[in-house]
Every structure is written in C-alpha cells, then in structure tokens.
Assembly symmetry: C2
Homo-oligomer: 438 residues x 2
Amino acid sequence: MAEYLLSLEDIQELWPLLSPQEKVESLQFVPRHLAEDFFLSLSAHDQAELLLNVPPIDRRSWVRLLPPDDVADVLQSMDKTHYEDVLPYLDDQTRKEVSALLAYAEDNAGGLMNPRFARLRPEMNLDEAISYLKRQTREQIETIYYTYVLDEQQHLLGVVSFRELFSGKPDLKVKDIMRMDMVKALDTMDQEALSRLFTKYNLLAMPIVDSENRLKGIVTIDDIVDVVNEEATEDIQKLGGMEALDTPYLKTSFFRMIRKRGGWLVVLFLGEMLTASAMGYFEIHIVRAVFLAMFIPLIISSGGNSGSQASTLVIRAMALGEIGFRDWWMVVRREIFVGLTLGSILGAIGFLRVIAWQGLFDSFGPYAMRVGFTIFGSLVGVVTFGTLAGSGLPFLLKKWRLDPASASAPFVATLVDVSGILIYFSLAGILLHDVLFG
Amino acid sequence: MAEYLLSLEDIQELWPLLSPQEKVESLQFVPRHLAEDFFLSLSAHDQAELLLNVPPIDRRSWVRLLPPDDVADVLQSMDKTHYEDVLPYLDDQTRKEVSALLAYAEDNAGGLMNPRFARLRPEMNLDEAISYLKRQTREQIETIYYTYVLDEQQHLLGVVSFRELFSGKPDLKVKDIMRMDMVKALDTMDQEALSRLFTKYNLLAMPIVDSENRLKGIVTIDDIVDVVNEEATEDIQKLGGMEALDTPYLKTSFFRMIRKRGGWLVVLFLGEMLTASAMGYFEIHIVRAVFLAMFIPLIISSGGNSGSQASTLVIRAMALGEIGFRDWWMVVRREIFVGLTLGSILGAIGFLRVIAWQGLFDSFGPYAMRVGFTIFGSLVGVVTFGTLAGSGLPFLLKKWRLDPASASAPFVATLVDVSGILIYFSLAGILLHDVLFG
C-alpha cells in the first residue's frame, strides 16, 4: 500500500471536515476495495452525499454495491428531486424492488426489510436444498443463514436455519425439519414494536409478510441495532425538551436547530408565564414577608427535579416494554410513596437550614419554627406533586395516543413550577397568617 | 396442545405478577420445548430466579440449556453465595469456561463474549473445512457463520464467512480465501466502545483477542442490541437527574429506588440553596420593587430549559461517537450563537408581555420600558449562559474522566438558576438604578 498517500484511518479522521468534493477525491487515495468497504459502512445520509457528488460515469458502480433496502434508505435521505440522479443507474430488477420499498413508511417493517432472501420449496430434500441455496448465493441475498420455505403463491410455510439444513440427514425433506411456529411480523408494523420483538425472542432475522401471509422480505438484527439507537436518540432529545432532530448533531443546520429547539422553548416559556401571574396573586405575601421570596427557586426546582426523575423512569420503562398502560395505577401509587419519602428528606434539610440561619443571623425572629414548617410542608407537597405529575403524565399522553416522551423534564418542571408556587404561598398563608395579614 | 391449561401467551402476560414458585409451576402447563424457548428468551435476572427456584433435581437440565456466556450473565445477576447452587450442575468444560468469563468485568468485551466459536486451520482445503465445521456444529458453538482461522498457539490469523467457504472452489485452501484485515477487539475493551465498532463497520460478529492476539471468544450482534439498550437506559436515567437503576423499573425495590434518586436530589437541593443566598444578597431590590420577584421563575427556568436542550444534544452525540473531545470549541461556539438567537426570541416575547401588562394594568408606571429591557436583556443573558453551560459541561466532565451524562437537565438547571438570579438582579440594578436606590 506504499503507493497510496492516505490510509483509510486518515480519511475517517478527516471525513467530517471535508467538503463533498474533497470526500469524493479522498477515496481515490486508497485501494478501491477498501474505499468500497468504507462506503458501505457510511450512514445513508453520507452515502447519498457521495453518490450525488461522484461524476455520473462512476455512479453506477457505487450505487450497485448497495442492496435494495439500503438504496431505498439512501433515496429517502435525499431530496425527491434527486431520485432521477440515482434510479437510472440501477438494474431493472433492483429498481423495481426499490420502488416497492419506497411505498412503505421509512419507520415501519416494510421500510426496513430486504426483499432478497434465501427461499426453498417444502418438497426438496436437504441435499437439493443445499445446492439450490448455493445457486442463490450468487445473487445478492441478505443472508443464507435463515431460509424461508414458500409455496408457489409465495405464502410463508416455515423457516429452516442453514445450520439445521447443514447438520440434518441429506435425504430428509425440507418440510420435515422446517419450524412452523416462527415469529413473523406484518409489513405495516412500527419499527419500535419490531425491535421489541427482536429483543424479546432473541432473533437474528425476522420474516415480514403482508396481510395474506405472503413473504415480502426479511429484517435482520443489524438493521435493528440502528433502529434501537435511532429510537433512543429520539426519546433522549424529546426528554431534553425539544423536537427530535432526525439528523446527526453536526449535520443539522443552524436554522433547523433553532426551529427544533425554539418551538418547545417558546411553549415552555408561555407556560412558565403563569408563574408570574400566580406570584402576582400572592404579591401581598411578598411585600409583608420578603424572606418568603428567597425560597421560591429552591422549592419549585425541587418539584421539577423529582418530576424529571419520575417521568424519565416511566418513559424509558414504557419504551422498553417493561410497563404498559394497564400498570398505571401500580406505578403512580408507588411514585406517590417515593415522592412522600423524598419530599420528607428534602423538607428535613430545608427545615434545618431555616433553624441554622435563625441561630446564626436571627433571620426570622419569633416566627422561625413556623417558617421552618412552611418550608418542610411545601417541599413534601411539591416533591410529591412532582413525582405524581412526572409518573402520571406519560400514561395520559399514551392514552391520548401522543408520544409519552413529550413529558420531558422541562415540560414537567414547568407544570410543577406553577403548582409549587400555589402550594408554597397557600401553606404560608395558613401557617404565617398573623405575620402576613395580622 | 388441547391438553395444556395455559398457553405460552397467557404465561408471558401473567409473568410479572407471579411469585417465583408460581413461575416454576406455570411452566409445567406448557409443552417442554416451548417452556425451554421461553426460558431462553428471559433476561439473565429472570433466568437466575427460575434456576434457584426449580427443585435441585431439575436444575441440571435447565442450566445446561444455556451457553457459557449466558451462564456467566446469570451468575453475575445473583448473589455470590448462590454460585454453588448452580456451578455443580455444569459439565466440567463449561464450568471451566464460565469461571474464565467471570474473571472479566461484566461490561467489557471479555464479559460479553462466547468462548465457543467455529475454528479452522489455514492449510485445510475448503472441502475439509466444511466437514470439519460439520463436526463442530455438534458442540454448542455460537455461530458457524463466521469461522476463525487459528495457528496452533490459538493466534488469530484470519476470518472466513461460511458463505465464502460454501461458494468457493473446493480445492482452494482456507488461507487463500481468508480475510486478514478484519476488525477485532481486545478482551478489555469497554462494551460501549465495542458497540460503536459494531455499528461503525456493520458487523455481525467480532473476534475478541488477548494482548498477544490469541482468540478468546466472539461477540455477536444480538448481544450488542442488549448493550445498546442498556447503555441508552443508563444515559437516559442519568440525564433525568439520578443514578442509573441497573434493574428494570418494576424490579427495583422501594429502598433502592429512594437511594438511587435521593442522592442526586439532595445534591441538587444543596446546590439550589445557593439561590436563596443569592437572593438574600438582592433582598433590597425586592423590597423596593416587588414586581421584580414575579419574573424570577420565568427567567431562571428559561435558562434551565435551554441548558437542558444543549446538554442532552451534546451528551447523546458523544455517546453515539458523532462528536469527540476535539470538537469542543466548534460545538460550544455554535451553541453560543444558538443561545443568543433563542434568548432573543424569548426576550422579545417577555418584552411584549411587560408592555401588554403596562397597557392593560399600568403595572410598572413610568418604568415600563426599562422593566421590559431588563427582562429582554436577562433572558438573552440567561439563555445564552444556559446553552453555554449545557454544551460545555459534558466536555469538562469527559476531560476529567467522569461520565458526561452526569450533566443532566436538573444539574444544568441548578447551575443556571444561581447565575440567572445574579444576571437578572445585576441588570436590574443598572437599568432601574433610580427606582431601586434613588
């Protein structure tokens, strides 16, 4: 390799910094087969960029490296107007398959599957089956490790692992060793549900059928790893209080970033404006006992923090399928007890702080104990309300068929801030009535 | 199946509600081979529970269903005192392999790998190789789809996919078709780094070697799906402002839950106490212009929300390997511009709110414009500081070799709350000087 100026590692290192044109050129500095491996390892987004920037004369050999499901992904990551810069370079068979795949939504089973799978007939014996498979490996099938047994109308009858085929007696028939109780999925199933099936049953590949049980393609576990990462990223970004970006951080333009983040930030800001109205309602409390204002951030943020913990736990457990809608009462009841306990711990610390300040600076005069109890009681109330709201909201959103992950930490915090102010000043109104209104 | 009282679906449905003893009994109601499939699909935690609750006489047949890496996982999910209830039921070879695996940390490559892989010698021809493989399938090897070419000291020389073996000319030698430039990992590599290698190179299996390039085992992509889910759950829980639970939500005891959540909640509470001190410093501002207190929650929460967005984005992009430490300046610089833009949007809304209130209720008398500019300026400052802190903190934590995911939404919010109060009152002190001190 001494005649090449750059190693593949150099290119990987530099990749994010290169212009599209430089990317194309850099690949000429490494041996062709390594450049091809590198191309195959890129994301659909990067593959699309490269394909559109190589000279048209080179485009065919690059695009034909890709199996049809990857071509569909590449097309879906570019503007529709560019489809005609790619589709003509495919062979007829692949073009037909790609067009069929593009009809599926990107994030359901049909959009993930590869339409090229290894197939067998039930009446073949194992020897015939193995040589029939050998012929199929010359085409670009996704895997020979699972083979699907079909009748003449393409109905899925059973599945045989290559390992079973290979270790069985050669004169047995395929139908004698095939499994008929396999897990399969409809082509319209959502990719998140599909990935839960894979992890639940520890599968390596799953056949995807239409509503009449005709085999349309297979999804393999390597695609599921991408789905799992993608879905986790989406949930994490929503939990952080914004819309999911759908593109890698460094590839998201400035204006798109502002749009995805600004929307939620404005909604939260408008919600938080209610705190100003709520405090306006208690203005007289603050005028008469200004020390009450000092504790506002402490109290409302504790509610937000405990709510953030609860909603995060519930949303993730839902995404993993650990809990479902029917568990709502068990979860919420439990969170109320967690909230009471955590609130009492924080309340005790808050109480001690008031007493300590009283001892050191005589900050609260004869009312110190009652101020202490106001802080204690407010923290118990606010933290319990926070865990209740944080754990209950995801269930409500799910019931209304919205994404539970929208119950983000900032969203719950905003909700709890307003109620925290109400709880705090109402309790102060009772316990410190003579100070405020006497 | 008419003679069985329960279907497998019934059992799956009821599973979380059953006592350990009932779980064992329920499996007697389904055909043995389905019960075995179900057992294999359970988590290591559930498998451990079942194994310890079946009568000792049945334990051998259940535990021997598991490959050595799964046995090691099962043992690691039970108390060490129970090891002796399981280990004696293994065959000698497996027991030896399991003990070797237990020496690795659970979350590195050595702890994930399966020590049973298909092996070949370089000098075999392809026909010999295939029949040698056929013999190996009788043992419980993890996969025959990748076979590893070893010398006599077990050094890894190359890899051949079964598909290549199967479609090559029978008289070629293994060494003629093996790939030598495969991706491999050290047994001490962290599982998160390992999962990034899998996704980067689209691998189905990876050989794990020791520091002298001796093959110790293989990790397959189905294990990586679990790793990806596990790591995302850990990050999501940390981002929610708590320690990672390490166990499913419903299986975490009440006291463990309090410990995992209470610790961070107390730390955040102590941090947030600084807001009370900061506000004490500005008490005179509030006494002279009580309307300033009304806007405190609005202003500090906006900083927290924008900080939460920034830290979430940066932490996730780091976890996926999209950005690394060297990108810190590019990211932070960009976030400052995002913060200025978002802050100006929120500031404009806040300004309009003040002017509207002034028009409706004459809330601020002759100072309305200056109050409006105080709100505008504070929001620009606080939101910019929030995005700066949120994007910069994960890099600092990474530099100090701490987990970036500890820069959770609540943590950033707490940090930004204190600074928000300082920014807000300082700006008010300048713009409204005559009102406050005149």
